[in-house]
Symmetry: C2
Subunit: 208 residues, 2 copies
DNA sequence: AATTGTGAACCTCTTCACAGCT
DNA sequence: AGCTGTGAAGAGGTTCACAATT
């Protein structure tokens, strides 16, 4: 294996895709799978799958393939999916409250359990049973509720300011829904989702 | 310029970032900008910006920089942002209805104007003034309303089936919110947004 | 016989660095 | 003097192809 090499972030997102597919296979009582079959199901190449897994070790058997249950448990370990992580959303506007209702954000290992806003009309209310706190309570709630991921869903203009506040609390993982690029220290991981950007890009292809 | 070369999709999303920033600069009455300054504001390198623009032509003046208004109008033309494109959302569940309320999806050149669902309780209702149609009306509404982009926000299990239906209507641009990879003909452009995937990936960094 | 693990080749995108333009 | 446009170098990720393994 090549654990010492730098692992591409795209490998990590694919590992997540593999895990999802393997769980579906396990539910269908399928016990073994080859990289070629898994590739077929995920629209990825067999070599890609083997390379990705190989960053973390050898999980398959030559001539046989991968044991579905074993690979699920390895991937869960690699991806940190054996524990439950608490998540907070900053901004309870249209996007923030949608995320609070989104079932994809309530999973075994993901627990969206707090929201923050500056609007007094929203503070101390709940959305989908998730309490909304004033932004001034950020540091305290993050500490008390042991939150490890913050989702930033505030208006574009407040993005950087909020990111600074979040970083100051010691949070190391941010999912940023504002279209601005955040400046964070090296040890903080940011993933960006630019929803209107994704739509806007499509218009490029429409004029071609 | 190098228009003949294949243009990376990442270049297109950056052009969109430049456009956004330039519009902000124009609002601040700034007339000229260099690639270095624009790079500072967008967290990108000056060389990257010049390379990206160079795929489409020469827009700057040596020793001077770029004229903000001129570059805005060039980028709008390149990105197809001079016309208004009609958009439909398929799936009016928690995610779909959030997108209907999301202000980022109502812009000068983007007009989200129809939604589809199979639930009779939702059909013929409206969300944020956007009418919800039965899925059986898909082809007709897409034709009548001149829709050119479809946003797929249905449950994972229905993703591929819906994508096939959408492709059959002649749509060439899809924004896919399901976590499954869609199989579409070569001339159809798909962009994928895997919301829970983005969160799930972050847990990887938490155990490191 | 089938399928993995993996070095090497390949391809794509980014950064460098500087000639040339204003 | 300053900044662009761009060929060349570099970095990073993917695919190829095959020896090794069960």
């Amino acid at each position: 294996m090549e654990q010492n090499k730098r692992i591409p972030e795209s490998t990590i997102s694919r590992l997540n895709v593999y895990l999802r597919e393997l769980i579906a296979l396990a539910e269908m009582k399928i016990k073994r799978i080859s990289s070629a079959e898994l590739g077929e199901r995920t629209n990825l190449s067999d070599a890609q799958i083997r390379k990705d897994l190989n960053y973390f070790g050898s999980f398959g058997k030559s001539g046989v393939g991968y044991d579905v249950k074993e690979l699920i448990s390895s991937l869960k370990r690699i991806l940190g999916r054996n524990e439950t992580w608490n998540i907070a959303v900053i901004g309870a506007g249209s996007l923030g409250s949608a995320l609070m209702k989104y079932p994809g954000f309530k999973k075994q290992s993901l627990n969206l359990c707090a929201a923050f806003d500056i609007d007094p009309k929203k503070i101390n209310k709940e959305i989908n049973k998730i309490p909304i706190y004033g932004l001034d309570k950020l540091a305290r709630v993050i500490r008390d509720k042991k939150i490890s991921i913050c989702v930033i869903a505030v208006p574009q203009t407040k993005g950087r300011e909020i990111a600074d506040k979040v970083v100051k609390t010691g949070i190391k993982c941010i999912l940023n829904f504002t279209p601005v690029s955040l400046n964070v220290p090296e040890d903080v991981v940011v993933r960006n989702v630019d929803l209107s950007g994704e739509l806007e890009i499509l218009t490029y292809f429409l004029v071609r």
